[in-house]
Subunit: 413 residues, 2 copies
């Protein structure tokens, strides 16, 4: 049996009519002869509502109990979606992460999937049922419920596609596909018909919300045929894959912007070997990911170490750093939430200097100050003030003539 895995995000199942719409789409895929496995997120803003309830009762709930609470959001949507499919007389069954056998590690709130047991799903598929799986959640070895963090349903979908050796994995969302920039910021942004895993990975890491980075990583490692498309139209969407057509390699795929980050600085750290290691190992053991890092020399034997973390991790990070600063004899810790990371992503980026020059020029023309810079094989990121971020994105998008794609593609293909 050919298997297809489809993932529908929270906005695709936000109310009963949207759930019925998704049910019809799913049945259409089944009628095409697929064994259909569907991953669903919590309806609309359920997760935020649950968090509100929690914080009213306890401003600092344990991560285990948060997972117990949040995982109910997906359980509600899988059962409702299954009922919508039942109403259309198709055999169906909903399964929680635990029932599917999605085994994760113990890191509550951002667990990583260790193993997927496909036995139960295969059994239900063989009985002709559509299988609806709760995204975002799993269980650890102790039989406790874990969640994979925001966007974790994408990862669930790709992990299932791998475990079931699915023909393809479709990620349905409220936009048509992957764009050269967020269309809410850059109205003339263009949809990409294809993008490489690596580019998508960078774009996801850099704030493009359309796919969760871990899901892209997983898709890349196992060569999953991944498609991003809209649950409200029949547009074919964007294909994420290993090799892309030659004519697309030398270009910039898009401009991204991540506002959910914060800058932390440890001031006047004595310059001794092992100091940076000390700073970052404490963060690592608290499961905090550090992104951009700058070590600047203030005067002889004294450095400032600055880095960025996710806004969600800021409180924890500052607490840990204040401790570390004391131990190291540093002067203190500062942080700034009014920052955003603006990035350009492009496969290859052979001539990085050329791209960098154009990007910095675009920012300079808008009088936007660059606070940090980081680069990889396929991206260049600049940290700027958050209030200037949208202007930065628009300026860069224009400078690289990204809205000109449609014509270019027509000429070539």
């Amino acid at each position: 049996m050919k298997i297809i895995v489809q993932k529908y995000g929270g906005s695709s199942v936000a109310d009963s009519n949207k759930i019925k719409n998704v049910a019809r789409r799913i049945i259409k895929s089944k009628k095409k002869g697929y064994g259909v496995v569907v991953v669903v997120s919590a309806m609309g803003d359920t997760t935020d509502k649950l968090l509100d309830m929690a914080y009213k009762i306890n401003p600092h709930p344990s991560e285990r109990e948060l997972d117990m609470l949040l995982s109910t959001g997906e359980q509600v949507s899988i059962s409702l979606l299954a009922m919508a499919i039942e109403a259309l007389n198709e055999p169906v069954i909903s399964l929680t992460g635990g029932q599917v056998g999605i085994l994760t590690d113990d890191i509550h709130n951002k667990a990583r999937i260790l193993k997927v047991d496909s036995k139960r799903i295969n059994k239900e598929l063989q009985q002709g049922k559509i299988v609806i799986v709760a995204g975002f959640q799993g269980i650890n070895n102790n039989n406790d419920i874990t969640t994979l963090g925001r966007g974790g349903s994408d990862t669930t979908a790709v992990a299932l596609a791998v475990a079931l050796q699915a023909e393809k994995c479709e990620i349905y969302t409220d936009v048509e596909g992957v764009y050269t920039a967020d269309p809410r910021i850059v109205p003339e942004a263009k949809m990409l018909s294809e993008i490489s895993y690596d580019e998508m990975l960078e774009m996801a890491n850099l704030g493009a919300k359309v796919l969760h980075p871990r899901s892209v990583e997983l898709a890349k490692n196992y060569g999953v045929n991944l498609i991003v498309r809209s649950s409200f139209s029949s547009n074919p969407g964007t294909v994420v894959k290993g090799e892309i057509q030659l004519e697309n390699i030398m270009r910039i795929s898009g401009v991204t912007c991540d506002k959910k980050i914060a800058k932390v600085a440890v001031l006047e750290v004595p310059d001794k070997p092992g100091i940076a290691c000390h700073v970052f190992s404490e963060l690592a053991s608290a499961n905090i990911n550090v992104d951009m890092i700058i070590q600047s020399i203030r005067r002889e034997k004294v450095n400032d170490i600055s880095f960025t973390v996710s806004e969600d991790d800021l409180d924890k990070t500052v607490k840990i750093m204040e401790n570390t600063a004391k131990k190291l004899g540093a002067m203190g810790v500062e942080f700034d939430k009014n920052v955003a990371k603006v990035s350009i992503v492009g496969a290859g980026m052979a001539s990085k200097a050329e791209f960098a020059k154009t990007m910095f020029q675009a920012l300079a023309e808008e009088n936007i100050n660059i606070q940090m810079i980081s680069t990889s094989e396929i991206k260049i990121s600049c940290l700027v003030s958050q209030t200037e971020a949208d202007r930065a994105v628009r300026s860069i998008h224009k400078k690289f003539k990204l809205n000109g794609f449609e014509i270019e593609e027509k000429e070539v293909g």
Copy 2:
């Protein structure tokens, strides 16, 4: 370790302040040296809200998917209650029915508990934690989520008390204890300081909503020390137990009223052996409980068979009966939702005729017609029109002078 099991109903955890109040009560019990296991229902009207969502999508959802949906209600309340206890710095853990190992049969929506595995709870208690368990739910052998039906959290609590050999099982609710009648119908109703398992069982079966019948049955079978009390006061409540003081034996404990029932009649059934068996075996295999039954002779060789079922089961019952009627050559099926069962309950009821006479007199004085009668060792029930039910309860309560208890008890004790 002495263990206490406490159960808090939906009205006791209806909002964040009530949840915090319950958290404080629980910690008080722990400070008295108990190992505390707490069973919680869904908050306030959560279950009804979830049902509304379901019916909007599918008027006849499968029972399995309903259980998947409804069980989230308790999962939300256990995690929030655990967070409230964390906020007061007491170690705590919440567990779903599945995690506790509450194994049930396969009858979704009204599953029966087969086994409780106390391993996980005991492990957590030994680590000094308060254990919060989701009421109303379990898992079957297939690892699917089941629910125990309305009021099932009471049964969860008693089953845990049995499995953990708890010293007592306290059922916290929004009333002070068990009353001689529903105080909303009979304002002068009195609270009982004690009641026997058998009386409580009848009262629960007959519509007293304070305890679920199966929980009382279980408590009786295992001699669980069961207490019904208010989560908003320190009133000691009503003790449900095996032997009650002599002076209380010969009296009526209370008047109950069940409005959630319906009358179904199969008309002009040919009078052949095995007919009644046929009628009721079909209902039994659909897991529908039949309560009062009357077979009346219409004319030679033709009978009418009337019976009552829970209102929830009416649709299903009528569908089955219409089929059965055809097969049996009966004339047709009628049903009436405008009925209520009014009952008196009293341990012993040695002189049943005397009690019956007084009850019928009370109804006659109010010109209330009796449609069916059924009796047991400790109760007499009359089916009346639902619109006359409250008046019937008040009249019977007065006729038996049930509001005079307080004075009587003072004289004796």
